[in-house]
């Protein structure tokens, strides 16, 4: 597969998550709630999670944002659901490295998330992709 086609595939994955977001919505009262906005654009995310026995049981997001931020939120919720908190943190770190164009730990399977790799080439959009992850980290930290 040529590099260009790979790019196109990644774009398809992103658009799929944007148009058919997974875990869209809001959890009932009593769950972890984080509201965060991306200062560069004013876009925002409303993330709700439930954590039980050190595991992320449920995660849902809502918000108003660009395709990259919403697709990233969709992928993020999908990725952390059922994982333990430590793994979620670890994934956020890997994702951050990926966005900065750094080498990252490839032991953990990122699945669809890899489609966002290309974003690192667009500095203006890195904050879009990391918004949901930052929200997730903030929520889990506050819960500690």
């Amino acid at each position: 597969m040529s590099f260009n086609n790979l790019d196109a595939l990644y774009r398809q994955v992103i658009m799929d998550h944007y148009k058919n977001p997974r875990n869209k919505g809001s959890l009932e009262d009593g769950s972890l709630t984080v509201d965060m906005n991306n200062p560069t654009c004013g876009d925002r995310i409303h993330l709700t999670m439930t954590v039980k026995d050190g595991k992320v049981e449920e995660a849902k997001f809502d918000g108003e944002g660009c395709s990259i931020s919403m697709a990233s939120a969709s992928m993020m919720t999908q990725a952390i659901k059922g994982k333990d908190v430590e793994t979620a943190y670890k994934m956020a770190e890997i994702f951050s490295d990926m966005m900065q164009g750094k080498e990252y730990d490839e032991d953990i399977d990122l699945g669809d998330i890899e489609a966002l790799q290309g974003v690192s080439k667009f500095p203006a959009r890195i904050k879009c992709a990391t918004l949901a992850w930052k929200a997730m980290e903030k929520g889990l930290k506050e819960n500690e």
Partner: protein
């Protein structure tokens, strides 16, 4: 009632020093720069020193500045002039779908002459992807025109990246910098464009004057025929007093740029903060931070742009639905359509606030309070 002008992207008040310069020139310098007598020579000097100053402001050289009657003429001259000059090399033009009408309609005129034009899409933040420019290029492409900063949503394009892609290609690269000039740092050598349009009335200079930067060696066919002014590239008696006043505006803009950038960005944040405090539901069209500092375009769900503008106007706040040229009409902005598609609510509920000279923090606060009150009233209905 104090009126608050938040439509500086449509046009801006003339700086008092600029008006002073203008009236001084009008009263004292009436020669024709083409005349060889002393009156003419004095007028020529004013032109020369203005041209030197403008050239320096974008790191260009003296002969690369062509005075025009404004941004529209600069855009028309760049695109049609460059396309006509390179007709033997091809008849394909690339531009984006969020350009100002001065660019888009110049492209339509070329289409009616048989040119082919590709209008590149943008993402929902109004960004053109440089890779998409690369893919659109053909052997027939002669002109690429992508604006520097958008007048409706403020999005700044990756011009240097696109210039890089075009380095090895025959096409000349034009950027409409009408909104960016005077507030962004533009260095034509660094950003690597061949043609760049500027208008005076957006930076507190007089209306009816602007310039086109045309890199040495880049061919642009003249569109105004007559005398040999502007090295035969643009005929017509030079508008000496406006050019001198324009130069004064540029001088002031350069000196105050950093301070204004910070101030306007602060205004944006303040505006957003106040709306948030009042629990107004809004979304930013484009970016807040990495955009033109003076442009803030907001979508207010549940409102209608016309009701909004009328209510704002009645409460003394002058804002706009986007580009002034289409503000009189109810047609949705082509920029918002390109960003959000034809069906988005945002096409009918977005307002552009743009900041500039004389705006104070108090004005911004008051305008935001009034906006919040109007939205909360209208959205409830």
């Amino acid at each position: 009632m104090e009126r608050i002008y938040l439509d500086h992207a449509a046009t801006s008040p003339v700086h008092p020093q600029v008006a002073e310069k203008m009236v001084k020139l009008l009263n004292e310098q009436y020669g024709n720069p083409s005349s060889i007598h002393s009156f003419g020579r004095e007028a020529r000097q004013i032109l020369d020193s203005a041209r030197t100053l403008l050239a320096k402001s974008i790191n260009a050289s003296f002969n690369e500045i062509i005075f025009t009657s404004g941004g529209t003429e600069a855009d028309n001259m760049a695109i049609i002039g460059a396309a006509h000059a390179a007709k033997d090399k091809g008849m394909h033009i690339i531009t984006s779908s969020i350009e100002h009408h001065a660019v888009l309609h110049a492209c339509h005129a070329l289409e009616s002459e048989g040119f082919q034009v590709t209008y590149l899409p943008v993402d929902e933040k109004g960004l053109v992807n440089p890779e998409v420019v690369r893919q659109a290029l053909t052997d027939e492409t002669t002109v690429v025109s992508i604006m520097y900063g958008n007048n409706e949503v403020g999005t700044i394009q990756p011009i240097a990246e696109i210039a890089d892609i075009l380095k090895e290609h025959q096409a000349v690269f034009h950027t409409d910098a009408v909104q960016a000039y005077g507030i962004e740092n533009l260095d034509v050598k660094q950003i690597g464009v061949d043609l760049l349009s500027v208008s005076s009335h957006k930076i507190n200079g007089p209306k009816g004057i602007g310039f086109l930067y045309a890199r040495e060696g880049v061919k642009v066919k003249p569109r105004m025929h007559g005398g040999e002014q502007e090295k035969k590239r643009r005929a017509g008696t030079e508008n000496v007093s406006s050019i001198g006043a324009f130069a004064e505006a540029v001088k002031i803009a350069e000196e105050t740029k950093e301070e204004r950038r910070e101030k306007y960005l602060g205004f944006k944040k303040k505006f957003i903060e106040i709306l948030t405090q009042h629990e107004v539901y809004f979304v930013v069209n484009g970016f807040v931070d990495e955009a033109l500092p003076h442009v803030l375009n907001l979508s207010f769900a549940g409102t209608d742009v016309e009701a909004m503008l009328v209510n704002l106007d009645l409460s003394g706040v002058a804002a706009s639905s986007g580009s002034a040229c289409t503000a009189g009409s109810i047609e949705p902005s082509h920029v918002l359509v390109a960003m959000f598609g034809n069906d988005s609510d945002r096409l009918r509920n977005s307002i552009r606030f743009s900041f500039g000279l004389n705006n104070t923090e108090e004005q911004i606060e008051m305008a935001a309070e009034k906006t919040a009150a109007i939205v909360n009233r209208l959205a409830k209905q």
